[in-house]
């Protein structure tokens, strides 16, 4: 097992899948010779050639539209949109076609493609480089929305995503990209899309989060244990859509208390869906109202203020203690 950053583990997943399956193609802006602006596709072009690692013209819709065509033909394109902030320019291709072709052709065609794109803030970037808009995709029927929280699960999830028969939007946290390293096994590892995981076991409170926010959430949990003697259960969603509510519903039934954390704006965000699932399936177990800790309903500010926008460990603690105080 080698220690890897998320950048390296995603590269490993791509490389191994391309090795194994000649249908797998990588395309996007600067993904070839330059190895991607975050170097995620570094070295792939040397291994697999310019025909499978495609430097495309600068056109998001073109990249995704072309991927759809390739997928329909039977290839397994993995396209990179340089920043999720630019993927609105290809959103219509996802919504109009990637998500619908299986249904429209009544199963004759399907679109086994993956759209990889970095999301979330915390890296002092310019406008359009820091937002979290997973809700758009999670709200779109016909596609899957995946957000890993670390090098190891990123590799496993991407491998599953590439093999998935339906289109998968794969959000990669810039903040985590190189933040820390984990042991990532050389041998293949997958994680079923549509299944969440328990990141920490406890009995007093349930924290539900994913992606970038997992680290502050885990940090808050250990502080709660040290300072308040509170044992928290933490659910890492990993897949936003289709949402696996089994674990967090069970958890809330045990703890009676929950806080949902995400960086995306609160209104109509994933948290809203999570909370209503709890209402539908665990209302009578609740001991206190559920709290949400999310980004504010504004455009994420430029970086001088972004740290006040992005939910902090302190904000998570405050919410958790509020919920526990009732």
């Amino acid at each position: 097992m080698a220690k890897m950053t998320m950048v390296q583990s995603i590269n490993l997943a791509l490389s191994q899948e391309m090795e194994k399956d000649d249908r797998v193609m990588v395309l996007g802006e600067d993904v070839g010779v330059d190895g991607g602006v975050f170097r995620v596709t570094d070295g792939l072009i040397d291994k697999f050639g310019a025909q499978r690692v495609i430097d495309t013209p600068l056109a998001e819709s073109g990249i995704v539209g072309m991927s759809i065509g390739m997928a329909v033909y039977g290839l397994r394109p993995v396209c990179e949109i340089q920043f999720s902030g630019f993927s609105y320019q290809n959103f219509h291709q996802i919504e109009n076609h990637a998500a619908r072709l299986r249904w429209r052709s009544q199963g004759r065609f399907h679109v086994p493609m993956v759209l990889r794109t970095p999301y979330s803030g915390g890296v002092r970037a310019l406008e359009h480089h820091s937002e979290s808009r997973e809700a758009y995709y999670a709200h779109t029927p016909g596609i899957k929305m995946v957000i890993p929280s670390g090098p190891r699960n990123a590799r496993a999830l991407l491998t599953s995503a590439i093999r998935d028969p339906d289109p998968v939007i794969f959000y990669e946290s810039k903040a985590i990209y190189r933040a820390f390293r984990e042991e990532v096994p050389e041998e293949e590892e997958t994680w079923p899309i549509g299944t969440s995981q328990i990141a920490r076991e406890g009995t007093d409170l349930t924290l539900i989060s994913y992606g970038t926010m997992m680290r502050p959430t885990l940090e808050a949990a250990s502080i709660l244990q040290e300072e308040d003697g509170i044992e928290t259960d933490i659910i890492d969603l990993l897949t936003i859509s289709p949402l696996d509510d089994s674990l967090f519903v069970q958890s809330v039934r045990r703890t009676g208390r929950a806080v949902v954390i995400h960086e995306a704006p609160g209104s109509f965000g994933p948290g809203a869906e999570i909370v209503s699932r709890i209402m539908e399936k665990a209302f009578y177990y609740l001991e206190a109202p559920i709290e949400r800790v999310t980004g504010y309903d504004i455009i994420i500010p430029l970086f001088s203020r972004e740290n006040s926008y992005i939910p902090s460990t302190q904000r998570i603690l405050r919410a958790a203690r509020k919920v526990l105080s009732i």
Binding site: F38, A125, L126, S130, A175
Partner: protein, 475 residues
Amino acid sequence: MVMGELTQETEVLVIGGGPGGYAAAFRAADLGMDVTLVDIAERPGGVCLFRGCIPSKTFLHLSELIHDAAHAESLGIRFGAPEIDLEAIRTWKGKVVDKLANGLVNLSDHRGIQRTRGRAVFESPNSVRLHQSEIGHIKFQYAVLATGSHPIPFAGVKFKKDGRIVNSTGALRLNDVPDSLLIVGGGYVGLELGTVYAALGSRVSVVELGDRLLPGVDIDLVKPLHRRLEGLFESITLNSRVSGLKENDSGVEVTIADQIDNAVQTYDRVLIAIGRQPNTKDLGLENTGVKTDERGFVVVDEQQRTTAKKIFAVGDVIGGMMLAHKATHEGKVAAEVIAGKPSAFDVRAIPAVVYTDPQIAYCGLTEEQAQKENRRIDVNRFPWKASGRALTMDAPEGLTKMIIDPETERILGVGIVGRDAEGIISEGVLAVEMGALAGDVALSIHPHPTLSETEGEAAEIFLGTATHILPKKKS
């Protein structure tokens, strides 16, 4: 990275990929720590591998061949005049360097070390900001500073690539063989490169400020080399200062001032080799609490710990003998201390080797030091003209000397001048480190005929049991 600043976290951050840096990184990784190695270069190796020891030794190997071939004539073998293909020489040097550099890449990658390119500048006692890098910041628990040193520039001279005035880095590019070359500084760097260029056909001159070559090395070791170089070089000027350098298309106009007057000479090239200074500027040390001395060297304790608890420093950047093997040893110490081991830089004999012909190698106490500390010592010289092996190699000018404590009979230092001194100094290092007595070396059998015998005999001289030299009357 085109956009934003990614932050990376690590247990141990090593800044600088030279022998000190990579040794620290490797050891730390072997001790199970999460290590990130930052260097501006793509591959580890540092000055030693890319612009120092290794390239200069590849060239020195050639100059030796050339010298031997020429010398062979007097021993009855005639080679033609050497034809020199600079392109081929540079390629060969490149191959050697590549092989070693790639080896280091493998060694660090297999140890799971995170190699990151960039220039690190401290922004706090536990984080650096990276320039020219994929990554914006690195947060660390411990840092090892191994940024090394660079040649001291000559006042008012800019080193241009392909300029006529160069430093060691420029000289090692070996762009061409100048007709005449002036070397400013009579230290080992100047003399080694001088030897190379002289062998390749340049007329080499040396100007040294001091009253002798290789300041700091015992004079009796320097003499034979000096004699040899006088033959090899155009001129060796001591007690003189280069007071002015004017570069023009035809050459460099050099003003050389000795006590009496100024002489102006023109040379094709001038090599500035007046020493090295630490790379401690623009490192953001002011944000860390790391103190440097008046000459800019980082101050450390014997565990390589700087005045900032979590930051360690090794190699040239902390001064002392600016030698790769010293840096390596210090690097390991730093890694072990970080890992909680009771390690310390506690050595008594850092060997130094000058790869001229003849070579000079020494370790431990020198005669000069002893005089300064006016310590009572007993110096025992074994001249190589009494060594069978030396004569078979036609290297009679050599000398091996052993500096011994007359009371305890303990070996305190060893000095050698002569062919392959590099190969036999290690016995001296071991003796000094082990606190060996003259008898320990004298009574150990040395194979005959070898140059190593000269060490055994030097020890025997002290005991009055030497075979190939008359016993000296003990005072």
